[in-house]
């Protein structure tokens, strides 16, 4: 194993690792830190990983776990998991959500053919609170089930569904130009 081999490995997977990290964390600098840590872990076991067909899955799993650790430990330890638990205790208000849905249905559909709309969606996703963004990213990009997400976050499936629904409502509002606080 040479440095050139490992450098080629990093170049091959850096976009995938970075994309996963930046969407989960919503922050470029922190995503770079996490990506570096992921590749250092890969370096420690490069002998086994280099030719493994499961390498992409391994990198995604490690990236996801490190991002969740980062969110819980370093950045918003109190806010992220505090919000998860507080929201779980809150009584949901499906009536209010239904009202928002009715309002959204009357709005003009957004046009994703326009680059600025895509940019707006990406920005809106990054600006969602972590307890809404993380399950949405795991569900829509990493194709995890709500059960898997609930297990990873240590919350109930119902809580995950509620957070994802509210996150989607917030995104939809942003896209149709209703700039309510998320």
């Amino acid at each position: 194993m040479t440095d050139a081999d490992f450098e080629a490995f990093v170049r091959r997977f850096e976009d995938m690792v970075f994309a996963t990290a930046v969407r989960l964390l919503g922050n470029h600098a922190e995503a770079e830190d996490v990506a570096q840590t992921v590749f250092l872990k890969a370096f420690e076991r490069f002998g086994q990983l280099a030719d493994s067909p499961a390498v992409a899955g391994w990198l995604k799993t490690v990236t996801t776990n490190l991002c969740l650790n980062h969110l819980s430990r370093y950045r918003s330890r109190w806010r992220f998991f505090g919000d998860l638990r507080r929201d779980e205790a809150d009584s949901d208000s499906p009536a209010a959500d239904e009202a928002v849905l009715d309002t959204l249905a009357a709005d003009a559909p957004f046009d994703l053919e326009r680059a600025e709309e895509l940019e707006r969606l990406e920005r809106a996703l990054a600006e969602l609170p972590a307890h809404q963004r993380v399950p949405l990213v795991l569900f829509h990009f990493e194709e995890q089930s709500t059960q898997q997400i609930a297990a990873a976050l240590g919350v109930s499936v119902a809580k995950v569904k509620t957070d994802m629904h509210r996150g989607r409502l917030a995104l939809r509002r942003q896209l149709v130009g209703i700039h309510d606080p998320v």
Partner: protein, 158 residues
């Protein structure tokens, strides 16, 4: 609009987002960290990266003295109390029924235990404290040497 409509609409929208590209600085940064990791002395790296034999030896060196100390300090009392609490006969009584070879082995073990308690046991705590102190001094010296020779602390290298 139903929640399912919203989910479908947002799923389509999110999947159309272009995947973020890693910054150009990422690969050089990772390779610099890899080179720094490689130059870091083995003892300053995470223990999980040490050779397996060295990990096993370290764990044994850490665990065995503690286990010996624990048995020496608490073992006799616990065994005696446990035997009494269970209403079992004292070892001297039930050992009469054992084969001579086993009894002889037990007597020899008792002799070793007596010698241990007379000569080695009393200094064991001091020896353990001395070993910990020497280990601490060694770690500090190693860190200082690494700092002087390589111009940085080992913890910063990773």
């Amino acid at each position: 609009m139903t929640p399912s409509d919203l989910e479908r609409e947002l799923h389509d929208a999110l999947r159309r987002l272009p995947s973020p590209r890693a910054p150009r600085s990422l690969t050089p940064r990772v390779m610099a960290a890899v080179r720094a990791r490689r130059e870091t002395p083995w003892f300053a790296r995470p223990m999980t990266t040490w050779p397996l034999a060295l990990q096993a030896l370290t764990i044994a060196l850490a665990v065995v003295p503690l286990a010996v100390l624990g048995v020496w300090v608490f073992g006799g009392g616990v065994l005696q109390n446990g035997t009494a609490a269970l209403g079992l006969p004292r070892p001297a009584a039930w050992s009469q029924g054992l084969p001579p070879v086993v009894r002889q082995a037990m007597e020899q073990a008792s002799t070793v235990l007596v010698l241990w308690r007379l000569f080695f046991g009393p200094v064991l705590v001091y020896a353990a404290a001395f070993a910990v102190a020497v280990g601490g001094v060694f770690a500090v010296c190693a860190a200082a040497l690494t700092w002087v020779v390589r111009g940085r602390a080992p913890a910063q290298a990773g």
